[in-house]
Every structure is written in C-alpha cells, then in structure tokens.
Symmetry: C2
Subunit: 493 residues, 2 copies
C-alpha cells in the first residue's frame, strides 16, 4: 500500500478498519527536515475529517500514516510547508476489520475497558521497559515467545534510553553516544525496529503501553531535561509515527515525580499536546514514582486529558479509595515485582504478587506484573525481557480466566452485583457470611488462588448465606447466578 | 501476714521488696461500706511516705494493701472516715527481693522496658480477655499451663463482663444479672478469684495487663455507661485491691473509641485519676479500636499520664512512624489474631502473624499475639484461654530468644547500632548491602523466621558488605560484634 512520490487517486487500494494507511512522499533533504518541514494530511470519510501529521523518515522520504476507524472510501489531501509535499490527494477503501482486529482499547463505563468494536478487554499487563533496545534479536524473539505463552495482554515499554545503557546504541535520536546525540533529529532505524516489534505485539494481541518519558537519564543522554520545544517535537514525531498502531497507549512518563527538571504544569502541557495531536485519542495517562504512604503525590487523575489511572503503589487495598477519588479505570502498573533484586521494588515473592493481583482485582482494579530475577539465564524481565521464571505468571493466567467470565458490568460495582468475587487474602476465616441478593439462585465456588483450583459448592444459594471455608489463606469465593457457567464435575485445575 | 482488727506494731513481720503487705481491719457493715467508708494508710520508710487506699472486702472486713519498693523498716498509720478504722499504726520489715522477683516493669530509656531492679524485659504479650470469668476451673488451669509452655510474658485480661456472657455470672459488681447488678457495690468473691489467678500469673513471670473498661457491653450490663462517680469509685477500688501486685499494668480501656458514651476528655480524667491514686505508678495506657488507615484516631500518647503506646493497627510498618510521633515504647497489642474466625480481626494465618511480629520488632516495636480458632476443642483463646493451636507461637518464642540476645540499648535505635536485625518480610532479595560500621568485626547470621533456623555466615564483616540471600520470603539478617555470641557450628534450630 506504499505510494511513493505520487498523488494518484486509487480507491482500489484497501486498508482494513483500524489498520494502517500509509502515504509515502519524496521531499526535501536539505537542512533538518525533522524540524524544518511541516507535513500533515486531512482524511475525509463523508462529512468526517481527521487530521494526521506526517513525519520524515530519512533519505528524502516522508510518510503520513492514518488509521481509519470506519469502512468506506476515504479521501485525503496533504498540507505542507514544503511545496513538494503539499496538495497531494488520493483515496483508499477501508474494509471491515479482520477476525482478530477489534480496534483500539477504550475506556468503557467508568472503571472498565473494551475494544472499540465492543469486545471486552481487561488489562493484564507486564513490563519490559527496554526489550527492543539492546540489538539482541535472539533475546527479543525469546521475549515475544515468553509473552505469547503468558497471560499478559499489555506491555509497558520505553522509548528513551537510560543511563545504564552504554553507547554505541541506536536511540530515538540521531547519534549513538551522549556526545553526538542530536535531540532535534530522530533515528528512523530505531523507529523502524520498534515498529517491527509493535507489529509482533499486535499479532499476539498485546497492547503496547508506550512510556514516552522517564527520569532514568541522570545527566547522561540529556533526554530528561530537553527544551520544551524539543519535548514537543519528539512527542509529535512519536504520535505521527506510532499513533496509527491501534494497540498503542500513551504513558507520558514513568515515575514522573522523580524527574526534577519538569513540573506538573509541564506534564499537563505535554498530555494536552498528546490529546491535541493524536487523531485517534489513544488511552493517555502518566505514572507516578512516589513511595508508599505518599499517595497524595499521585497525579490528579480527574484532569480531563487523563483516560485512566496509571498507578505505582504497593498497597492494592487502596484501589477502593482511588476509585472514589477519580471515576476512571484503575491500572496499578507497578506494585513491586516478583524477583530477588536487592531493590525493594523488585523482590517480592510470587505468592505476594499473586495476593496483590487478587486484592486489586477483587476491588475493581487491574494490577500489573513484572519480574526481576537477577541471577537467571536472562536477567531482569522488566528491563530486557527474556524468559519468565516466576511463580506468579501461571496464577495470573488463572485469575484472568476467572475475571474474563465476569459480565462486563461487574467492574462498575465489583462488590454489589449478581456476580461476586470475595477475596480473603492473608485471612483464613473458617466461614464467611455471603450477602447475596434475596431473589434468584446463585452458584458459589471456592477458589484457591494459589493452587488454582475451583471447587463448586453443593446446592444453590440466595440471601445471607454462611459459607464454610477451609481456613487457609489466599482463598476466594465466586458467586454467580445459577446457570451462568458450567461448573459441574468437581474440582477443576 | 494478715493482721485482723489490730494495730500492733510488729517489725518482725517481713515482706519481700515488691511483695505485698496487707493490713486487715474490722469495720462497719451498715449502709454501703464500698461507697460510704474512706480508708487509706500512709506508709513511711525514713523520709519517704506513700499513701495507699484501702478497700472493703465484705463481711465487715477492710484491707489496706501495700507494695514496699525498698528494704528496711516501714511504718504505717491509717486514716479513715470511720473511727473504727482510723489511726491504726504498725510497722513491718521489707526484705530483699527473692530470686525471681525483679519488681514492676518500668519504661526504660525512650522505647524500652525493664523491671525495676534493672533486669531487661521485652513484652511478648498475648490476649485472653475473659479467661478468669467463666467459672470453669479446668479451663483456667489449662490456660495457665498453655501460658507456661508459651513465650508469652504478658496477658491482656478484662475485668468487666461482656454482653456475650450470660447470667448468672460472678462479675466485678454485686449481683449476677443485668437486673440486679449494683454498680455501687463490688463483688469480693470475683476479686478474690481474680487475685488467685493473678498470683498464678506472677509465679509464671507473666505481667497482667488489666483492661479496666471496654465497649462490649452493648446496653446489657450497663457497665460502659456509668456515672462519672461510679467510674471513679470502680477505678479506685481496682487500684486499692490490685495495685499492690507488682506485675499489674493499667490498660484503661480496650477500643476506647468504640465506646460512644465517653469522650477523650473522660479517658483523660480516668487516666489522670489512675496516675493520682496508684502509689506505684504502674504502666498506664489506653488501647484504640479504630480501623486501619485511621491511625490519626489513636489516642495522643504524648500526654504525660501515658507511659507507653498501646496500639491496635494491622500494619506493623507504621511502627517507625509511631516512634517519631511519641517517644514512648510501642506495644501493638492487637495486629489481628491467628485463627479462622469469620471476623477480620481474628483470621490471619500463623505465617502472617509471624511476619507482623518481625516487621514490628525489627523497627523497635513489640507486637502482641492472639488466637481465634473457633472450631477446636477449646474455642477462641483470645476470649477464654484454653489451648494454643496456632503455628505462630513457636515462631514467636524463636523471635523472643533472638531479641533477648540484643543489648538493652538496641531498642533505642534498632537500625543503627552495632547489633542489627534486618528483616526482609515479603521481599526475597538475592542479596543485600549491609551497612555496618567501618570499625570492628561483625558476625552475620542468616535467619529463617518461619523455619526457625540461624545460619552463621562464614567470615567476619565490616563496612558496606554485600550479603548473599537465599531468595525466599521472611528471612532476616542479624549482625553483631564478633565475639558477642557463640554462633559457631552451622545451622541451629
């Protein structure tokens, strides 16, 4: 579907709904085209128009990418500061989405998510910050295989390099060492590789939660302390290149409050710019770094440009409180990682991480995974991917299967509807009074969240019922209307 | 040593230091002697005088009890509103304390405790609120045996009955049912039985943390909503009868904030009265009931009549914060109990309770134990005593042995001295940078807090040392100056 140096209208060219149309143009190479040339295209379907910025891809090649969101014939016309690039017109036909293409993930209701076509989506995220940066193809393929075998359907990944990564290195910017880094030019090779990996994730059905800024530079590459205009150019370049990937989320910054060069007003501005330049309105949030007990330092997620709450906190019980503070979905992207790092953020046990997943989930929040084993064949999944060694992954898969059986409205009032998940955590009561609706019959199942068993209890329940429990920790009860699921046949693995 | 109806001075009579002298007098029986007759005695040793109130013990018998705090000849003279009781004089000889008698427990330094003779004391408390109330001698003897076999050296126990306890019942007050309860008269038989059990605890070396009020009456016995004068009379009667037991602590109220009839000003007044009438200045505190996350509702422990912080909270990590809030010892008497109760306060696992003990202890706080198994031969240790079934008790004994090897000054700055306990809790780092003083040699041991093993690491350490760890949760490190303890010979149970 590439179109080079031409403006021929050819509506036989087809692009799937939420797929990617790409217009390729040749243009000026002199000066700094990244900075000097403005290019965009207006796409029109009937009376709907959407504007997408283009970007310079090096070697005189310019591209405008566009993700059409409805089937039919789309027409476009380019606008550019360069006469060579201005006024190109054309059209293409957008076809129905393919079988595994449900569109971008959107907020649904107050606390949930769904794909744009209405298919339910619950984030079960993991983190591999720099898995695409090391230039190690075998490791990247291994990471993809690990993800394919895992329950994870979202991965947090960074664009900017960190101090830990020694040059020479392909980075977002032109140059490969701190000395020759040019923060006004980008590195098409870096982005092409990233896009290749984004395509791989898309095939696996994994959302890419792109972390655009982070505070881990520590005066090395200088990318955490750029001029406001450089920040904005970089941001718009990322949106122009990557926004047409339907599975992209914008995480403006990781641990934003650890960056001492920027203020909350700076982040507000960059988030608002993202809102303005992203034609598709991908999910947008920002992730705090403040330590436990300082939850008041979370970003104010009620701000209108924030779509969901991206939280670092180690106490999943606060999920209930955060839901009251802002009526937006809760994604606890960092709750400490399973592993044996000497750092506090990376050394909880698998059992503890699974406990936190259930604590958050049963309160209507989505907890994120990470691993940081530092003495295995592949080190620190959260940094570079590789293999998964932990005990939590299988249990998270188990939790995901259970939660995905909930009706979509469950997330709106997880403790009150007709489908209930009651989690006992570190408690081990010998019995529990389950408060079911007085009307209707309910099935109740006893879930061992660690052993991954589901034991249907005999009989049907309604109203206030005393349920016997085995007196072990990390147990849960699920209640749902009789007939809602096939749970006959004794203990299931 | 009883002296009935006489004022003979007989200095051959001897009482051990911190033992109990008792003067017995006969006096008026008409009216309400509990209310109408005032009696006290002034005890004098050289130029030191102490005043102790007496009490009516029924059948025309009055007693004045006194705990002398130094050896030598003590003289006394009574004062009374009744001429029969007024002006009795006498003397006795106080001898040196016996081998197992170290006097009352006092606050030592800012955060520690010691017996009055200087012997170290660290509270490892448990709770059996009403173990003396049921009239079941076999169960009481069993409770004593369980305590004798346990690491616990303090027990919280209530004087007032609860709604759950059906009449007929011997209570603090005259009468045995809510209808005939006379809150202006006391029940000598109840107190004699209580004193018998206090003697049993004293023989076991267990401190009696007496809970004088509680909010569990719920309109039944009417003892949580008495007139101020009735509260004061009851309080003074308890002090007069029980204050001479050297192992008594005054816990003014359990979960004071759940009593809606009384204000903080009421508790201030009752605590100040305790301070005024107790000649021995036993430890004094008050215990909150407010749920997690509302730690601001703890009593203001900086008030001068409070000797130590008696806390209910489920997060032992806050110990560090409480130490900053008030420079007084931290006793977390309720942190949830091991058990299988359906109530949240009584159903954590043994592993979780042990975790909380270590979390509190390593931060310089003393955590309290309780058990609430509701389906065993003897039910709910925290209510009625009986047998201990949990997995935590043995591990608490293990922790106690370790802590009691610390130098007394350790509690003042648990993370900084030359004797260190570093607890990793739910974390499982593969290694840890231990920051030891640059001078001197240190031994380091790896402690498995659950398996109860202590593994001395090879070699000696100083300065900043990287210590390899096994990557399991609930591990700890102990560091201490080389030669401070004999830890050779490999793994110890």
């Amino acid at each position: 579907m590439n179109r080079v140096g031409t403006a021929v209208a050819d509506s036989r060219e087809t692009v799937e709904q939420w797929g990617r149309f790409e217009l390729v143009l040749e243009g000026p190479q002199e000066g700094n085209p990244f900075q000097d040339v403005r290019l965009s295209a207006r796409f029109q379907y009937r009376n709907l128009t959407m504007e997408a910025e283009g970007f310079y891809d090096g070697d005189g090649v310019y591209r405008v990418r566009f993700m059409p969101d409805r089937p039919g014939v789309w027409r476009y016309v380019t606008r550019s500061s360069s006469p060579e690039l201005d006024g190109h017109t054309g059209e293409f036909t957008c076809t129905e989405a393919g079988e595994d293409n449900h569109g971008p993930v959107r907020v649904k209701g107050r606390y949930g998510f769904a794909y744009e076509d209405g298919t339910p989506y619950m984030p079960f995220g993991t983190t591999c910050y720099h898995w695409t940066h090391g230039g190690n193809t075998a490791q990247e393929e291994l990471t993809l295989q690990s993800l394919a075998d895992s329950p994870f359907n979202k991965v947090r990944m960074c664009l900017l390099p960190t101090r830990d990564m020694p040059p020479p290195l392909q980075t977002v910017f032109a140059g490969s060492s701190p000395e020759d880094l040019d923060r006004t030019r980008y590195n098409p090779a870096f982005f092409r590789h990233l896009e290749h990996r984004l395509e791989d994730l898309l095939k696996l059905g994994i959302e890419a939660d792109l972390v655009l800024f982070h505070p881990y530079d520590k005066g090395w590459w200088g990318v955490d302390n750029m001029e406001a205009q450089q920040d904005e150019m970089y941001l718009r370049y990322c949106i122009a290149r990557l926004g047409s990937y339907r599975h992209v989320w914008w995480s403006l910054c990781n641990e934003f409050d650890f960056n001492k060069f920027k203020t909350v007003a700076d982040w507000d501005r960059l988030l608002q710019l993202t809102q303005r330049f992203d034609p598709y309105q991908h999910l947008r949030s920002i992730h705090n770094g403040t330590k436990m007990y300082k939850s008041s330092n979370l970003y104010d997620f009620t701000k209108p440009w924030i779509t969901h709450q991206s939280i670092q906190h180690w106490d999943a019980e606060l999920t209930s409180q955060w839901r009251l503070t802002a009526a937006k979905p809760i994604v606890i992207d960092e709750i400490s990682y399973e592993g044996n790092s000497s750092r506090r953020w990376g050394n909880i046990s698998g059992r503890e991480l699974v406990h936190r997943f259930w604590e958050g989930a049963s309160r209507g929040g989505f907890v994120g995974h990470g691993e940081s084993f530092i003495d295995r064949e592949t080190r620190a999944w959260i940094s570079t991917g590789g293999r998964l060694y932990g005990e939590s992954t299988a249990r998270i898969a188990f939790l995901r299967r259970i939660l995905e059986e909930a009706p979509p409205e469950w997330i709106e009032s997880p403790g009150e509807g007709s489908w209930r998940l009651v989690y006992f955590g570190r408690r081990q009561p010998g019995s529990h009074w389950l408060e079911l609706p007085a009307e209707g019959d309910y099935q109740v199942e006893l879930i061992d969240t660690w052993e991954m068993t589901i034991l249907p209890l005999e009989g049907l329940f309604r109203g206030r019922c005393r349920i016997g429990l085995p007196g072990r920790p990390q147990m849960a009860l699920r209640a749902r209307p009789a007939g809602a699921g096939s749970t006959e046949g004794g203990e299931r693995g």
